[in-house]
Amino acid sequence: MRWMAKEPVISRIKKKRILQLISQGKRVDGRGLLDYREITVEKGVIRTAEGSAMVCLGQTEVVVGVKVGLNAPYPDTPNEGILTVNAELVPLASPTFEPGPPDERAIELARVVDRGIRSSRAIPLERLCIVPGKRVYIIFVDIYILNHDGNLVDASALAALAALSNTKVLGYQIDEEGRILLDKSIWHPLELQNWPVAVSVANIGGELVVDPCLDEELAMEARLTITVDKDGRVCAMQKSGPGSFSAEQVMEAIDIARDKAAELRSMVMR
């Protein structure tokens, strides 16, 4: 089936080694169980986008481009602008990414990032209305994975936030025929009202581990992604993967996420 994902199978000795180390509180790259890999955030990397950012999380690399356009509003929200998030797992990023329409992994990734932004009301959509019921701004957030080494969701959410934080909302002109057209020469910065950050916690051999790299993802039972807003409230959650968590693990993961979110947020708010 085209929409089914195809992850590679991890070799047994690799998985064995990962589990062995984790049971000793260590990881394959020397990190602690609750340590993120090295993170770099670069804003404004794509000139053709109205907002953009590149995030490197270890060897996972993600570029997010934000484009601003005009559209008719959705019928049930005539006074609100539109946010739409899309993710492309482009084939150059991994031998398991094939060309074609987004598969279930890409769609889940986009929807989880979207949920974090939407639930936290990071973007004031009511302020993106031009003519109620007729014309509103549409914000396209396009997530582009350039190299997959695990934890695409945290990297993508961070890159999306960074890109939105340097997004220019283009101004508009109304021509003689009453059409509304974008005017690149005038713009104002997109003002964010919240700063949601996603933190993924994996259950690997019963231990909770933050920021799994690709091999760890292939060895893990499941992952819980928790999106935390600027006030420490949880605005989105997603359990992903074939295994399970205990209730205690979920509570602990939430505490870990609230703690880590602040660290990540500071990288974007510089």
Binding site: V9, S11, R12, I13, R17, K26
Partner: protein, 232 residues
């Protein structure tokens, strides 16, 4: 007879290396009496006659007799498919794995080896038109139950082994680890403690990275001595 480069010069595809009555070595394309590099690598003139490029980016081509290390990726009827990081998947037939001729059903096969298992095998046969055939029928070959895999570019395997095995002997001696080098650039490492393992991995990565810079053996030996000196 003209040489356009000096020995150990870094050359790239399309570079005209020599003109004249020479022999064609590795990674060379000859047009008329002109010799061109087909890969990025170091220019060499072997026996004063053979124009060769020692490739720095290479692809493993299986040779009968090669020891290789790979992962089982599929189980078929009477055989396993093994990924040995070559352009074609390798095939290990049941008879070549179990050493006796029989036709097991699929259940029996997976009990012996299944998807995700790692094996040390020998290339039994290969020609370009077919998948390489493997065998486990010798001492030292078989399923790997533990250890760490490090991958290097196949063309650098000789550097890791060293002249008459000097480099690998030195590494084994200094780290006390077990090392099995697959000619396909897959290396299996088994150490008694994490410090030795870390040191060995660092040494292997250094060899891979700096193989084109003269004085490698000395540098690696110095690095190991330095790290162990600090630990002592």
């Amino acid at each position: 007879m003209t040489l356009y480069f000096n020995r150990r010069d870094l050359v790239v595809p399309g570079d005209l290396l020599a003109e004249g009555d020479y022999e064609v070595g590795e990674n060379i394309h000859k047009i008329g009496n002109r010799f061109y590099a087909t890969r990025v690598g170091l220019f060499e003139l072997k026996d004063e006659r053979r124009i060769t490029v020692i490739a720095l980016n290479s692809i493993y081509v299986p040779k009968p007799g090669d020891i290789v290390i790979g992962d089982v990726v599929d189980v078929g009827v009477g055989s396993w498919a093994v990924d040995i990081r070559a352009p074609r998947l390798a095939i290990l037939r049941a008879a070549d794995a179990l050493g006796k001729p029989f036709r097991p059903d699929r259940e029996e096969l997976t009990r012996f080896l299944t998807v995700g298992d790692t094996v040390i095998a020998k290339v039994k046969a290969y020609d370009r038109t077919r998948n390489p055939l493997l065998t486990l029928g010798e001492p030292g070959l078989g399923k790997v139950t533990s250890g760490l895999i490090v991958r290097i570019t196949p063309s650098k395997v000789p550097r890791l082994i060293g002249k008459k095995g000097s480099m690998i002997s030195m590494l084994k001696r200094e780290t006390g680890c077990q090392i099995v080098i697959g000619m396909n650039g897959v290396v299996l490492v088994r150490c008694r403690n994490p410090e030795d393992e870390e040191l060995l991995v660092e040494a292997i990565e250094k060899i891979e990275r700096e193989s084109h810079v003269e004085g490698l053996t000395d540098r690696v030996a110095r690095m190991i001595r330095r790290r162990k000196g600090l630990a002592a």
